[in-house]
Each structure stands twice: as structure tokens, then as C-alpha cells.
């Protein structure tokens, strides 16, 4: 379970989050939406402790993330996979080494077990046979899928996706969306998907949280958001810039 309480964060005087509150139950797939610069990625990075809040609390599995020591935070992160916007693959390592890096360092798996896990993760994202390629040799969509393979290889309880489909063509977007749904359903992983792509939102999530002006503007299901009369929400989901909010 993830709980965010009164989360405030600012950068150089620019207040990005101004009191965010929500809870996510185990096994839920929650989409966090909002305009560019609304603090979606900042919120996600607070959940796995990459950023420290100015004030507020982030609870993961009943542990207060923002006060944990580095060692204890590592235990939380070991259960939490994160998929970055541009993949964030390590340039100097091959695809296989990227996926196996955390397995070799954090688990007691033998080398053949690591290689098996790398293979099965690549098969899950339909990229078998690419383990010896370097990140520079991959397309944008492939990088994102390797990023997902790296995140699922550690068999996480939580998966955090930062803009997983941004900049991809519609077919690749559909492939990624299906992968997210597959991991959420088969492995009952709690998923948080930060995105502003409404197609991804409706395809993969069973709950939507919208950030606006640093606060939660909407928290509900796909059906509820479609019927929501709030101007900021309507403007976002219809993409109609003529609506004033």
C-alpha cells in the first residue's frame, strides 16, 4: 500500500506540489495525469525516495519513505521497479548487462539463474535475442521495453512508470499498454503510471488521479472522469484549449 500525505515540494521557489494526498491499495493500477510541469514525475520520484519532500509523508508498505536511512530505503527500492521516460539505460552496458546489473548485485542468484531471468524478462517484453545489443543500437520503443524488462527482472511488488508511451507511434503505444496490463494482471503488481496520453490512461488503469495547480484535482475511475464536469479535468481529457479553467 502506498499513502501520500500533505506532500509539498518546491524547486528554487517554484512550488510544484502544494499538499498532495492519496492512497493506493495493493494490486491497483493508477494513472497519474496532468499537464506538463504539473509535478507528476516529481510525485513519482518521491514515492521511491529519489526526491525528498519539503514537508509531508510518503508511506510504502507502512514504512515512512522520506525518513528512512539509505540502507532501509534500498530494501523498499528492491521491491519497486521504475521505468524512466527515455529508458535511462546505462550507455556503457549491453541490454543483457543492463537487466542483469541489479540481479547480480542485489540477489543471491547464480550466474546461470541471472542469465535465465534476463532471458525471460526479454521474452516478456518481446525482445528476445537483443541481450548483446548496446542501448545506442535500440529504437525509442525498444529502449522503453528494455527499461520495463529491467524493472520487472527484480520481480517487484510495485512498478512505477514515468511517461511509458510518450513519443511512441500508436502501435508501439499499444504494445507498451498491453505489457503494463499483462504485468499488473498476471503478477498483481501495484502499478502507478504517470502519463498525459489519455489512450494509455483508459487502456491500463482502473483509477485516475489528476494533478492540477500542485494538488489532486480529480481521483476516481475511468467512467467517473468521463462524466466529470470540472473544467480543468474536462479540458485535459478532451484536449480542448478553448475551455477556461
Amino acid at each position: 500500500m502506498i499513502k501520500v500525505r500533505d506532500l509539498y515540494k518546491s524547486f528554487d521557489g517554484n512550488k510544484v506540489l502544494k499538499g498532495v494526498n492519496f492512497s493506493i491499495e495493493t494490486g491497483e493500477a493508477v494513472a497519474i495525469i496532468g499537464k506538463s510541469g504539473s509535478g507528476k514525475s516529481v510525485l513519482l520520484k518521491h514515492i521511491n525516495g529519489l526526491l525528498k519532500p519539503d514537508s509531508g509523508e510518503i508511506w510504502v508498505d507502512n514504512k515512512l519513505v522520506n525518513t528512512l536511512s539509505f540502507r532501509k530505503l534500498q530494501n523498499i527500492r528492491a521491491k519497486m521497479g521504475m521505468v524512466f521516460q527515455a529508458g535511462a539505460l546505462f550507455d556503457s552496458l549491453t541490454v543483457g548487462e543492463n537487466i542483469g546489473l541489479a540481479l547480480r548485485r542485489l540477489t543471491k542468484l547464480r550466474e546461470n539463474e541471472v542469465l535465465e531471468r534476463v532471458q525471460s524478462s526479454l521474452i516478456d517484453v518481446d525482445l528476445q535475442g537483443t541481450e548483446n545489443l548496446m542501448p545506442a543500437e535500440l529504437s525509442g520503443g525498444m529502449k522503453k521495453r528494455v527499461g520495463i524488462a529491467r524493472a520487472i527482472a527484480i520481480k517487484p511488488d510495485f512498478l512505477l512508470y514515468d511517461e511509458p508511451t510518450t513519443g511512441l507511434d500508436p502501435v508501439m503505444t499499444d504494445i507498451i499498454n498491453r505489457l503494463i496490463v499483462k504485468f499488473q494482471k498476471i503478477n498483481s503488481i501495484t502499478s502507478i503510471i504517470v502519463t498525459h496520453e489519455m489512450r494509455t490512461v483508459f487502456d491500463v488503469s482502473n483509477r485516475i488521479i489528476m494533478l492540477h495547480n500542485g494538488k489532486v484535482q480529480f481521483d476516481g475511475t475511468s467512467e467517473e472522469i468521463k462524466n466529470c464536469n470540472d473544467l480543468a479535468v474536462r479540458q485535459f481529457i478532451t484536449g480542448d484549449s478553448s475551455l477556461v479553467c
Binding site: 525516495g49 524512466f84 535511462a88 539505460l89 546505462f90 546489473l101 529491467r150
Partner: protein
């Protein structure tokens, strides 16, 4: 009003920077007890920082030795015998040129590379990815580079000393009327083993300064490509100034 406050803001951010550097180095030194886990990464860095720098060090040291030889001969008046060239070359190379040339060349070659590498990792979220995979980026990225710098700089200075003296001897022997015997007679006359040790002390200090400054600017890079460029430039400028400053401080302390 803004003009009035800008020097104050600059002073505050200078001390903030020093504080951040000290904190970063503290967490790096704390990770020394886990050195065995990261020794393979340190060896990789030793190859990148040290072994691959040998050709450029040989080239620059050789020419520095040659120039020293020519200039000392030029400056000697008729009552100073030419065999003194060996002593001037030896002392200049061991005390100053070997460590200094190595430091300045490696500021460009190693410092800039480290800053650009870590800066790119920061702006492309690779450092965040490392953290999210439960790695300590300080231990994983910074520790091996600084260890490699501290270990490899003295070795490179020894190489620079050797080729600097060789360059001086080569010029003295082939372009002046100084025989090898005379050159090394001069070299031995004024040679103090401490001078060579002092050069190595400088090398360790320069190795730490250059790699740590590069790691600091690279690790805290902000923005995109512009931020990486800024971090690289600052690394080279600050490292050069630090080396010159350290050179003076160490000379006052040890000579």
C-alpha cells in the same frame, strides 16, 4: 536592488557548493569499507584514467624535457658549464614539470571526461535509475574514479619524470655539446631522492583534486546538454586553478 544582492548570493552559493562537495566526499570516504565490492569498477577506471593516458603523458613530458634542456643551455652564461643542463632538467622535471604537466594534461583528458560522463548520466536519469535499482551512486560511480585517480596519477608522474629526463638528455646529447656522461653527472650532482617523493605527493593530491572536482560537477549537473557543457568547463577551470594552488601550498609545506 538585484545588483546589490548578487555578490551576496554568489558568496552564499560558493559556500553551498563547498558544503555539498564536502558532504559528497564524506559519503565517498565512508564507502571505503566496502572497497572490495567495487574493486573491479576501480580497475576498469584505472585502465581508462591511467593506461589510456600514457601516450599523451609520454609525448608532453618528452617535449617538456627537451624544451627545458634547450632553454637552460640558452640561459647559461659562458662561466656555467653545459653539464649543469642535466641538473636543471632533472630538478625541473622531478619537482615541477612531471607532476604539473601530468596534472594539467589529465585535467583536460580525465577531468573533462568524468564530468561529461556523469553529467550525461544525471541529465538522462541514469543516476536516478541506479538509485531506483538500490545502488548507491556515490559508491558505484564516484568511489572507483577517485580511487583510480589516486592510484594512477603517481604512476603517470613516474612515466612523465622518466620521459621528461629522457627528452632533456636526448636534446642535450644531440643538439648541444653535452655528452651523456656530462648530462648524468649534472643530474646526479643535484639529485635528492626527496624531490622524486615530493613529486609523487603532488601526484596523489592532484589525482584526488581532479577526479573529485570532476565527480562533483558531473554528479550535480542540472539541465540538459547545456548543463553538461557547463559542468565540463567548470571542471577544467576549477581543476587547473586548484592544481596551481595546491602546487604552491605543497611547496611551502614540504620544501
Amino acid at each position: 536592488m538585484q545588483l546589490l544582492f548578487s555578490p551576496i548570493i554568489a558568496i552564499i552559493s560558493f559556500f553551498e557548493g563547498i558544503g555539498r562537495y564536502v558532504l559528497l566526499m564524506t559519503s565517498m570516504f565512508r564507502s571505503f569499507n566496502r572497497w572490495h565490492k567495487y574493486i573491479s569498477y576501480s580497475i576498469d577506471q584505472m585502465i581508462i584514467i591511467g593506461v589510456k593516458s600514457i601516450p599523451i603523458i609520454i609525448l608532453t613530458a618528452f617535449f617538456s624535457g627537451m624544451v627545458t634542456s634547450v632553454q637552460s643551455s640558452y640561459q647559461f652564461s659562458s662561466w656555467i658549464p653545459d653539464w649543469y643542463v642535466g641538473s636543471v632538467v632533472g630538478e625541473s622535471v622531478l619537482l615541477e614539470l612531471g607532476p604539473m604537466i601530468t596534472g594539467l594534461v589529465l585535467t583536460g583528458r580525465v577531468g573533462a571526461t568524468i564530468a561529461a560522463e556523469l553529467g550525461t548520466m544525471r541529465v538522462t536519469e541514469q543516476i536516478d535509475a541506479l538509485e531506483s535499482l538500490s545502488f548507491d551512486p556515490v559508491v558505484f560511480l564516484i568511489f572507483p574514479r577517485i580511487v583510480a585517480g589516486i592510484v594512477m596519477f603517481p604512476i603517470l608522474v613516474i612515466v612523465a619524470d622518466f620521459f621528461g629526463i629522457f627528452g632533456g638528455w636526448f636534446t642535450a646529447s644531440y643538439t648541444m655539446d653535452v655528452t651523456s656522461f656530462e648530462f648524468f653527472k649534472g643530474f646526479r650532482t643535484w639529485f635528492h631522492p626527496w624531490d622524486a617523493w615530493f613529486g609523487l605527493i603532488k601526484a596523489v593530491s592532484f589525482g584526488f583534486a581532479i577526479t573529485s572536482i570532476a565527480c562533483y560537477y558531473g554528479y550535480f549537473t542540472k539541465g540538459g546538454a547545456e548543463g553538461v557543457g557547463k559542468a565540463t568547463t567548470l571542471t577544467v577551470v576549477i581543476s587547473c586553478v586548484t592544481i596551481v594552488f595546491l602546487d604552491y601550498v605543497l611547496a611551502v609545506m614540504f620544501l
